[in-house]
Symmetry: D2
Amino acid sequence: MTTEPLRIAVVGAGIMGSDHISRIAGRITGAEVAAVVEPDATRAAAAAAGAPGAVTRSRIEDALEHDDIDAVIIATPGPFHESVLLPALDAGVDILCEKPLTPDSESSLRILEAEQKTDRPRIQVGFMRRFDEEYLQMKALIDSGDAGALLALHCAHRNPSTPPGYTETMLITDSVVHEIDVVPWLVGEPIAAVEVRKPRRNSLAPEGLREPQLVLLETASGVLADVEISVNIQFGYQVTTDAVFERSVAEIGRTSGIARWVNGAFRQAEHLTYTTRFARAYDTEVQRWVDAVRRGTIDGPSAWDGYLAAAVCEAGVSAQASGTRVEVSYVPRPAFYA
Amino acid sequence: MTTEPLRIAVVGAGIMGSDHISRIAGRITGAEVAAVVEPDATRAAAAAAGAPGAVTRSRIEDALEHDDIDAVIIATPGPFHESVLLPALDAGVDILCEKPLTPDSESSLRILEAEQKTDRPRIQVGFMRRFDEEYLQMKALIDSGDAGALLALHCAHRNPSTPPGYTETMLITDSVVHEIDVVPWLVGEPIAAVEVRKPRRNSLAPEGLREPQLVLLETASGVLADVEISVNIQFGYQVTTDAVFERSVAEIGRTSGIARWVNGAFRQAEHLTYTTRFARAYDTEVQRWVDAVRRGTIDGPSAWDGYLAAAVCEAGVSAQASGTRVEVSYVPRPAFYA
Amino acid sequence: MTTEPLRIAVVGAGIMGSDHISRIAGRITGAEVAAVVEPDATRAAAAAAGAPGAVTRSRIEDALEHDDIDAVIIATPGPFHESVLLPALDAGVDILCEKPLTPDSESSLRILEAEQKTDRPRIQVGFMRRFDEEYLQMKALIDSGDAGALLALHCAHRNPSTPPGYTETMLITDSVVHEIDVVPWLVGEPIAAVEVRKPRRNSLAPEGLREPQLVLLETASGVLADVEISVNIQFGYQVTTDAVFERSVAEIGRTSGIARWVNGAFRQAEHLTYTTRFARAYDTEVQRWVDAVRRGTIDGPSAWDGYLAAAVCEAGVSAQASGTRVEVSYVPRPAFYA
Amino acid sequence: MTTEPLRIAVVGAGIMGSDHISRIAGRITGAEVAAVVEPDATRAAAAAAGAPGAVTRSRIEDALEHDDIDAVIIATPGPFHESVLLPALDAGVDILCEKPLTPDSESSLRILEAEQKTDRPRIQVGFMRRFDEEYLQMKALIDSGDAGALLALHCAHRNPSTPPGYTETMLITDSVVHEIDVVPWLVGEPIAAVEVRKPRRNSLAPEGLREPQLVLLETASGVLADVEISVNIQFGYQVTTDAVFERSVAEIGRTSGIARWVNGAFRQAEHLTYTTRFARAYDTEVQRWVDAVRRGTIDGPSAWDGYLAAAVCEAGVSAQASGTRVEVSYVPRPAFYA
């Protein structure tokens, strides 16, 4: 393990990129932001201001060439990931890529191909829930077998409101994609089929957006996860999972923190956004990734997991349109990802 | 309103019948057990011992003829209900009939026909959840519109274990039948279609019983209720409902009562059986029924509601077998039940 | 046991008396309101309207003489209790007397004397907390010894606001009197000493009322109960008790019922008044008292308990004035109350 | 601000020292462990193994002389603090000193004197609760005035068991010392008087240790904090604070995390030790201290706060022995600590 800090290029200086920059500068040990890659110069400069010593670049290629980069964090929108992933793989650096790996399975397969030309898995995908303390406790309970076999999961994924441009397919590809990653991780086997059901429409959703929806994910051995996705529910941001075992039920994702009795009620604040709900998960994810990269490995979901999610999302979008059960098929798993 | 106590014949001296007998004798005002009707003489005597002044009879006809009966509570198994309902209707007395009204819609229609020959609705069906304080709070919240329109419900119905003879169709007809009654009551409209999905099987269930199951109930306007039915989950008896509104989520059915910190954990007792979970709902149901009967009316689900539940159960059993979405159809509602 | 309903005279038709009248008429089996005793004729008539068959009387003596009374419920203010208790004892009827038995220990001793001239304890005092389900669970836990010996109690007793005329001594005699009864009952031994401490004053209290206060009750074996009494805390009505055992902590009195997520918060309603908080305790108290009286006994705190509370209240008021620890002394317990 | 990492000497390689070493090596940005100072060479080597590049020293003077130290963390027992504080102040480095500053007010005053000879406050005392997220939310609520003025606090501080050598005075000086720091911080004014009450003794405490105790802390304006200190309560480690405001009550310190229903109960794990309960508070404390030191300041309780706590502890020990209310007096606050 090198004792030198990891020199990271953060690509994209939007909310998530800026969040990563302040995280690395302020709370992560063993790493520093060497470059902020962002075509919008004003935004780049603003983001870089919080990272002493960081340069700004408009193209990833420039950073890779000039800035002695060890690793890249990709925080641009999904459609732009491939154009950063390929040169970064080519340069032989490590990569933490925000979800999704790419927007579809075909492009994800291209990434797998490119990565397999390198010496070892270089890409970790930013499914941060795997680093949330309660999800980790849930996984430990499942793996322990203490409660008997896992039979079913009830998931709820709720956002107060949608940004402009949010479409019905994004319910799957942008939101449920988190459950699409975390359910197989919890269960320990891939998703075999998807169905979508559409309850009564929320009139507070923007015109043309039919939500909430109920997505049924079925794993190979038959564990059935129902996922309620609600994205204009106003009251807050909430992600919960109830697990039904043979002799127990477990739940995660409840509100905690200071409680008050006021105006005739007991009251505890709920989260309003994912950045606070998963603040610690992001910190843990990045610290563990930095530590792993310095040891020469990754420590989280791989590009293969990114591909799996892309394949399930495609099936999910198809199920959303057809109303039928859609089975998911995958290419064989390369030994490289064993 | 008569000031004389209502003279009740309780038919069936099993667990539920005995429970009603001790309830009326010990906690209900304005009523008394006049007769215990039960062919098993030993059981009849044991049950009647708790009700001072009650005679025992082996047939309902004898009680109706000799005991100056004002009302009948039917607590025999469902297949025997019709043979008590018809003579009781004939005798012009009031009836509280434990669920289900009858085991199928055809026999339920026969009951509706017989009842319509009387002066007014005489039958109340024992769907006690409508009298549970939290269900009533949920209904009030839905009706108030404070949280926006109701869009979806997540229900869980869990039993520690099944009695001998419990079959897969009973998941619908004996257990989910409660949600089949209470969901339309909450939503304010009938169930239009049913689907059933089968997660991984609980190995603790008796051989041949495939459970848990996930039952999807869809109402006319599209409110979608998913109901997890688990009947060998060991840990306790639990009935919960989460309601998803346009701008809020509400939940009922959580454990309460004395809490302890002991052996490294916070701990609160969960119910082990429906008799404690719904003890107060049963008391309220019976007291309100007694009060209503003395005023010359009923105050709860009618025989028509019993018929609706029977029709949905039939669709549910069909959906359970076929794996497909089964629409429910009903006969037109007679003006008698308006 | 008689099968005739108990004929009860309810004395006092204020909030509590009216509450008892509708309770007996609507939810209690084996009893009926035979007379409403209240000097204010309008109020008497209004209260009696809810109890079919009840006459109104302006004096208890009239009811005892003319109405074939079996038992009396006293719901007048404390200073008027003695003038009802004495003739009722004289008439040999049973009595449920709202707390306090009388306002001071001297008058309570007079009641004990009068009662001892009757055949058996005839008076039950209306400390309803002993019938609250959670208090009963707490008592069972203490008595079981499962958690080790009980060492300390933390009690909170909070009211939203005070009625006109509420004075500082009433913090003890009207409010903490409930803990003064329930603490010895929980612990199983009398209170030996009292201290009072006065935190910063609530500016929302009426002028001249110094509250909240912290009352320390010490039992014979050294169990120490601290009682926060707050009577203008606005947010609601709340009564909690945390028990500290040798190897566990237990708590009662937390909010329950339907929960909502709304406007960025998890929310559960808190009680606003004792009538809802202890609604079931009152029902249980009265039903068990009716049942006991019909068996020829009482089933709850006796006049002796009423005297003990009066003696502790006197010590408490003295401690409140002096700021010192005040020991409590009692007359020897008559065998009549063994 | 320097961009070089802060070079820290950690003094003491026991549980707390080792914890700080792995924290700095693994989770804190901007700092590195340059030296581990510990007379026990084996223990020193073991602790240093987790910090790449750290040397081991048996005396602080050696580290200060040879290792280019910027700052010192003192994690030895309290009686040894002075002998590290003085040379470190002399060397002009920054210091994070675990609580207590020193064991008594006289020695604390010597430290204040020595510190005032330096350019600015150099010492931060390790009262980590001020960095716990819930305590911070409580402080924010108090400071906001939203709930009205703060009137009283109910604190509980519970440990499963005591280490060998734990004495009755340590209830104050080792345990309640945390509340003695945090109560004035929350209230915004110093503690004016202390009383101690002793409930029934826990028979599970080692012979000669009389506990639990109830410590009453009174601030200048009359806010009254009662602190239950229990140190052999077996079930777990628990620190809670309930705040009583004029129109609200708030509470912190409740269990959270994954919940399970199992064996007839709802169950959530409670902490067993302070290292998990306050894990994040320690991380936050150290990160904020590192950040502050790099900016040339401190960011937490000062040596003055350490002196105040020492003075209150002395009064508390006196109150523990006498059973009376003991007022606390302080030397005037030097302008240096304004």
